[in-house]
């Protein structure tokens, strides 16, 4: 029934190189006649979004429909464009985090960490061990909150109302914990170049223990409610297939890439924070359909719970931050640092000219690249499949539009 089992541990399999194909030209949208005998018919072009319940914010997709079948799709972005990359050029390094929280507003700690790592590698700052572990801990907590939001909204996209409200229970519990640690529920501003803002407050271990005690049981419930449900399985099996070749060619990362069977996880590929010191597996899918993306993320949730336990148990003593001057002036140069955010590889590319502000900062947003595939992935499916595929990609418009 629920064959999560076929999501195996990492096997190191990577699709062979050379297996690339030139994709079809993304067709511009047009009104095409699809004459059935003598009856003149037209394709229907509908606007999905920017205010549509399933576009998760303000995404606008033009769908060309033949009946209910999607012939072509084109995403139109920018409704949430705030020019973060430009604003960053006018801020000192420790002030950037506030903007990055608002780029990926569901998992701000990941982008903050990526920035901190990029600055540290530019300026050559050594981060204390304790800070690294705290970073990993809060990032895994943040990963659960983000995946919980995805799980709930994915259920909503497929018409199941119950999981959304149940996931909010877990999400709220963890947001409260994050608020106790960082001072804010979503706009953390906690991970700074050199370490983290403050040490873990007392009682966090107990709070996380309380959460973890029920977490696995609730995960089983979600698996019953969605993964074990025949209707759900019918809706996602074989739907929105994005195979390994397409996924790599479009630069997809994260669970969407791993669902296609490509073993790439930044936490394993280039271990950062404390990920080199903890044990975890990277769940992989096989086909790259919505079911695989669902199953991979569900396994990631379970692993995040186990990681939190390991990180709590192994938390070292020491300083929570290195001494970093406020007016940090890293030497001129470039650096790139990436973290495995809940959506994939979130990279910060910094260009410094030696002043106290970055000359250029590029946010390599994972959902931006994951979304680009929809023109291809939605075509041929039904409207309902389009909704399911979009939901399974787990996009956050804040980081796509920046």
């Amino acid at each position: 029934m629920s064959d999560i089992g076929r999501i195996g541990p990492s096997t190191g399999v990577v699709p062979t190189e050379g297996a690339h194909r030139i994709p079809v030209l993304p067709r511009g949208l047009r009104r095409a006649p699809s004459g059935i005998d003598e009856v003149a018919t037209e394709h229907l072009i509908v606007n999905m979004g920017p205010q549509h319940p399933s576009t998760h914010g303000v995404l606008h997709i033009l769908l060309e429909l033949d009946g209910e079948v999607v012939v072509a799709a084109e995403a139109s972005l920018g409704y949430l464009h705030r020019g973060i990359e430009k604003l960053v050029e006018h801020r000192r390094y420790h002030q950037i985090g506030t903007l990055l929280d608002r780029a990926d507003y569901v998992s701000g700690l990941h982008s903050e960490t990526a920035l901190a790592m990029a600055v540290e590698s530019l300026a050559g700052i050594e981060v204390p061990e304790k800070a690294q572990w705290i970073r990993s801990l809060v990032m895994e907590v943040n990963r659960i909150t983000s995946h919980m939001l995805w799980l709930g909204t994915f259920g909503l996209d497929l018409g199941a109302m119950a999981p959304f409200l149940y996931t909010m229970r877990e999400r709220e519990a963890l947001l409260d914990i994050l608020e106790a640690i960082t001072g804010s529920r979503m706009m953390f501003n906690y991970v700074r170049p050199g370490g983290v803002l403050a040490d873990l407050p007392a009682g966090i271990g107990v709070a996380l223990d309380t959460f973890l005690a029920t977490f696995d049981g609730y995960m089983d419930e979600y698996d019953t409610l969605l993964g074990g449900n025949e209707i759900f399985v019918e809706r996602v099996r074989g739907v929105g297939v994005i195979d390994a070749t397409t996924a790599t060619a479009f630069g997809m990362t994260g669970a969407c890439l791993r669902a296609a069977g490509v073993d790439y996880d930044v936490r394993k590929a280039a271990p950062y924070a404390a990920y080199a010191h903890v044990e975890f597996e990277v769940p992989l899918g096989t086909v790259g359909d919505c079911w695989d993306r669902y199953a991979v993320r569900m396994e990631e949730l379970r692993w995040a719970g186990r990681l939190i336990r390991q990180l709590l148990d192994g938390m070292p003593e020491g300083d929570h931050t290195a001494k970093v001057p406020k007016g940090l002036r890293p030497p001129a140069g470039e650096s790139y640092a990436a973290v495995e955010s809940p959506r994939g590889e979130l990279g910060i590319h910094l260009v410094s000219d030696g002043s106290d502000r970055p000359y250029r900062m590029r946010l390599r947003s994972p959902a931006y690249f994951n979304l680009a595939v929809i023109d291809e992935a939605l075509s041929g499916g039904l409207v309902a499949d389009a909704v399911a595929t979009l939901g399974s990609l787990d996009i956050v418009l804040g980081e796509i539009d920046r």
């Binding site: 190189e17 030139i22 990279g347």
Partner: protein, 151 residues
């Protein structure tokens, strides 16, 4: 894992792409080439297994726009950066046939930095609307307060 500068140079030279400069710094292997050779260079690198375009973006250097292509080989996690200079309002080749991942970032670079990509199948604006004047990531576009914008 950092690939050899020499090996990368060799691959590119064999593909008929002379390098202006190749170095290995804090970023990794950085190869600078002529903009019009971008497609050939990327195709050559793709042929040796760099199947992912991690990122593509432009930087306004103050004199021209510098395009950065960040490539990765998933097998051994080797990474290469290709850089090419394009003069303001001039043209670079679109590389979407080699890496479809370039479709969005090329549109973004075109609208925010004012370069164009020849052969892009859908050269529309991506993030801003038609009314936005200027190329926002250029250094000569200054930040304005809401009051200034309203005037």
């Amino acid at each position: 894992m950092r690939p050899d500068v020499d090996a990368t140079t060799e691959i590119l030279t064999a593909a008929g792409v002379p390098l202006k400069e190749a170095s290995s710094d804090t970023l990794g292997v950085v190869c600078r080439i002529e903009a019009f050779r971008l497609e050939a260079a990327l195709a050559a690198l793709r042929a040796v297994g760099y199947q992912t375009l991690v990122d593509l973006f432009g930087t306004d250097t103050g004199e021209a726009v510098e395009l950065t292509y960040h490539l990765r080989r998933l097998g051994d996690l080797a990474e290469v950066y290709l850089k090419a200079i394009v003069a303001y309002d001039c043209e670079a080749p679109s590389v979407w046939r080699v890496y479809p991942a370039a479709l969005y970032p090329e549109r973004e670079a075109a609208e925010l930095l004012g370069v164009s990509f020849a052969g892009h199948p859908n050269p529309k604006r991506l993030l801003t609307t038609e009314e936005v004047e200027g190329h926002l990531l250029r250094k000569d576009v200054l930040l304005r307060t809401p009051e200034e914008v309203a005037l």
